[in-house]
């Protein structure tokens, strides 16, 4: 069989796919530099830098991402730990629960949450409320990452060794198990950042000014500024994913998927 001819078709195919993926990014870049007519420059970027609302929304999204990571870990680490150590028979339940966020689309979940939780104000009234659904959105990926990480550990030996040295539960989990999971945790955390930074559904319906909502808002008034923010958002996703791949390389470099559709 001639091994040379097939190279042409794959090369051509990959070339076309590549063009499809590169073009929108290049076009957005050119568009963000457009100043009307034939003039090109950085005015859209200059205008954005002086928008306090941009920095507020960006700051809010970053804060929500960190809070989501922390709440998600506090809720999941003990449960996945115990699942792997003692109650393997609950695994089907966990697998089921971790695909549920997939069956219930975000827009349906937010519909349910708005009818169920109408108060009190300190709970639903501040942007921190968004952390509640964001933990659910990140749940499948955080669970997967933690589970894969813990399966690779000999939890029984670790537990018995640390307890025979006099460690309590807190020490065991946070000073023995968690440090052994660094790779898995960083992967889950970066993916959560990518999800939260782009999340639009909950923030838009619940009327909080996160980064994605701000991009949408700018898009109503200035297309060039929206393009500049689009590039910034792409850059954030790129950095987060690069982090996932670099940290994952030592273990099983597992690429994850998620994000705000």
């Amino acid at each position: 069989m001639n091994r040379r001819t097939p190279r042409l078709i794959p090369g051509l195919g990959l070339g076309i796919v590549g063009i499809y993926f590169i073009t929108p990014l290049l076009a957005t870049g050119v568009f963000s530099l457009w100043e009307g007519g034939d003039r090109y420059g950085l005015s859209a970027y200059a205008a954005l830098i002086h928008q306090p609302k941009l920095w507020q929304s960006l700051g809010l999204s970053i804060r929500l991402a960190i809070e989501t990571i922390l709440v998600g870990l506090v809720v999941l680490v003990p449960a996945v730990f115990w699942l792997n150590l003692r109650v393997q028979r609950l695994r089907p339940l966990f697998d089921f629960l971790s695909v549920l966020p997939f069956v219930v689309p975000p827009i349906a979940l937010v519909a349910g949450m708005t009818t169920l939780y109408t108060g009190p104000d300190w709970f639903v009234g501040t942007a921190n409320y968004l952390v509640v659904p964001y933990v659910i959105l990140a749940l499948p990926y955080t669970y997967r990452a933690l589970d894969v990480g813990m399966r690779a550990l000999d939890l029984k030996t670790l537990t018995e060794a640390s307890q025979s040295l006099g460690a309590g539960w807190f020490t065991l989990i946070f000073r023995v198990v968690v440090p052994n999971l660094t790779t898995a945790l960083i992967g889950a955390a970066l993916l959560t950042i990518a999800i939260v930074m782009g999340e639009f559904t909950f923030a838009n319906i619940l009327l909080f000014n996160t980064f994605a909502v701000y991009i949408d808002y700018i898009g109503q008034t200035s297309a060039t500024e929206a393009s500049a923010l689009t590039l910034l958002s792409f850059l954030i996703t790129w950095l987060a994913m690069l982090g996932v791949l670099v940290t994952g390389r030592s273990g099983r470099g597992q690429v994850q998927i998620g994000g705000a559709r």
Partner: protein, 294 residues
């Protein structure tokens, strides 16, 4: 050392139900309160009227506007999943071919991870800047005499949405199908060729049957991914194309004068579609699993 002197190493290994509750409760309560109860709440809202149980709101799913929205959503997701499967599958296959440049694979993996996560509002704007009525490509094509929008194309339509969705569907497919393609052993191909099979014979009788379960689960994943997409169509079409997620958001934001219950019924309908799709997948997977031992 006498047995009594052994430190209580087995303490945890033997500890009972109370520990299970202590470790599991936060997670289970969280999921119950913020995932399961809201979903059940939808069920209750959709079926409860002012005077007890009613089918009124669920029946309203059969009305003209709603049927159109559901048909559009399902059609769009089916097409976007199909495009993703075909283009993404071929891309993954081409990248894995022997003799491809060294760095290509890691480039595709990295870019795929980014593109699969790059969606929503920014993605919509990227395509508006590219192929919108004033987009860079649209304008350039006009300069060389091709009037894209004059020839009937518009980004703000179902085919336009498929084109945009492909941007996160294709990389998602590449990510999920690459491990399955890697599991295809070269020996099988060689054995088939030695027995006189053509490339078509190999794929028809060996390759595709082995890949079938992976392809099916990938299709379900891609379908669900497109079906629940909200930010992208919201920012892109702002209601020109009727889709279920956008319809629900209109109810929730009070943009249209319909009751909360109708919104709940719509959301329930979405969950229903996902459950049916997952159910079909489980059925086929079981049927396939009989032949393919994994």
């Amino acid at each position: 050392m006498s047995p009594e002197a052994i430190p209580p190493a087995g303490r945890i290994a033997r500890s009972g139900g109370w520990f299970t509750i202590a470790f599991m409760a936060p997670f289970l309560l969280y999921v119950t309160a913020f995932l399961i109860l809201p979903t059940l709440m939808l069920l209750a809202t959709a079926f409860l009227g002012k005077h007890g149980l009613t089918l009124h709101y669920v029946r309203s799913l059969g009305e003209g506007q709603t049927v159109v929205a559901f048909r559009n959503s399902i059609e769009l997701s089916a097409m976007a999943a199909f495009v993703g499967i075909v283009v993404g599958g071929l891309t993954a296959y081409f990248v894995l071919l022997p003799g491809m440049p060294r760095g290509l694979r890691s480039l595709v993996t990295t870019f795929g991870a980014v593109a699969a996560n790059f969606a929503g509002v920014p993605l919509a704007f990227a395509f508006i800047a590219t192929l919108g009525s004033l987009g860079i490509i649209t304008v350039w094509l006009k300069l060389i005499g091709i009037n894209l929008y004059g020839s009937g194309f518009t980004l703000y339509s179902l085919p336009g949405l498929v084109l945009v969705y492909a941007y996160f569907q294709i990389p998602l497919m590449v990510i999920v199908i690459t491990p399955a393609l890697e599991a295809l052993r070269r020996e099988w191909r060689e054995a088939a060729e030695n027995l006189g099979a053509s490339a078509w014979d190999y794929w028809r009788h060996v390759g595709l049957p082995i890949l079938l379960p992976s392809l099916l689960s990938a299709y379900i994943l891609l379908f669900g991914n497109a079906f629940s997409a909200y930010a992208t169509p919201y920012a892109l079409t702002s209601g020109i194309v009727a889709l279920v997620p956008v319809a629900i958001s209109n109810v929730l934001s009070g943009n249209v004068m319909v009751s909360q219950q109708t919104g709940a019924a719509l959301a329930l309908g979405m969950i229903g579609v996902m459950v049916v799709v997952m159910g079909i997948y489980a059925l086929i997977a079981r049927r396939v699993g009989r032949w393919v031992k994994r």
